[in-house]
């Protein structure tokens, strides 16, 4: 994406099995990204292990002074995010322009 933004689109079930599939890739991406947009639009399910697969790379990016935004989670996935409290650390946006602005 323009503006140095790395967009990672996740899909399917971010359960224990799904988290195991994406963990390594997410951590590799987080190792170099400075502006990370995690697209959750096609994520059907998010459990605590899937949440860790988002939080750990996000923490890595932010520890280097980068920015992270979560984009377009469905109602239940967003409820998981809010229950955990992670939405207070990582902005959750449903509008792409707002997501890009949060990474500026």
């Amino acid at each position: 994406m323009a503006g140095g933004i790395t967009r990672v689109a996740l899909d399917g079930r971010m359960d224990i099995a799904g988290a195991a599939v994406v963990d390594l890739k997410m951590n590799i991406i987080a190792g170099s990204a400075k502006k990370l947009l995690i697209d959750l639009e096609k994520v059907e399910f998010l459990g605590s292990m899937g949440l860790r697969s988002i939080v750990i790379p996000a923490r890595a990016v932010k520890s280097r002074g980068g920015k992270v935004v979560l984009f377009a989670p469905n109602e239940m996935v967003e409820s998981v995010l809010k229950t955990s409290g992670i939405d207070t650390l990582i902005p959750v946006c449903h509008d792409l322009d707002a997501a890009i602005a949060a990474l500026a």
Binding site: V55, M76, V80, T83, S84, G85, T88
Partner: protein, 165 residues
């Protein structure tokens, strides 16, 4: 915490057309994949909403993975049984609640004692964000009721989900 008790108005409704009411797993995370189709069949049978089905799948994944990782502590050949019970209101016999009861033979372990049924304090930094324990908070949020009971040779965890507004 004591065992969950049902209000007197509830009754169990035997239903021979229901999906298999019991699922038995081995204490390995790979077996959690068996839970999804089982829950889907139950959800289809009782016209459970997509959001409630999400909640059931979420809570069962968190509860069962806790049993496997913390209860059995890596012993992969132990049994976990889950029974789904349908609760109906006697007034119209409509299904009001699905109750899932998970039993294991692990040492006493009350997962609900780890975190009270209170919202997580808002973290102000990633250092404040706990690496574990989110599963218990999610269970408190997404299940209608939770209860743990110590058995003579294991644990019983009960998770109830209202399926009628």
């Amino acid at each position: 915490m004591s065992a969950m008790t049902m209000p007197e108005k509830w009754m169990t409704a035997p239903d021979p057309s229901s999906p298999e009411p019991r699922l038995t797993l081995k204490s390995q995370l790979e077996d959690l994949t068996l839970v999804i189709p089982w829950v889907k069949a139950i959800a289809a049978r009782y016209s459970v909403s997509a959001n409630t089905q999400f909640a059931i799948e979420l809570c069962l994944e968190e509860a069962l993975s806790n049993i496997i990782r913390h209860g059995y502590r890596g012993q992969a050949d132990q049994a976990i049984s889950i029974v789904c019970t349908v609760k109906c209101s006697p007034s119209d016999a409509a299904v009001d609640e699905l109750v899932f009861t998970a039993e294991d033979h692990a040492p006493p372990f009350d997962p609900l004692a780890l975190f009270a049924d209170t919202p997580a304090p808002a973290p102000v930094s990633f250092q404040d964000f706990p690496p574990g324990g989110q599963g218990i908070r999610l269970m408190h949020k997404f299940a209608s009721r939770l209860a743990w009971q110590q058995l003579a040779d294991g644990n019983r965890l009960t998770l109830a989900f209202a399926i009628r507004a």
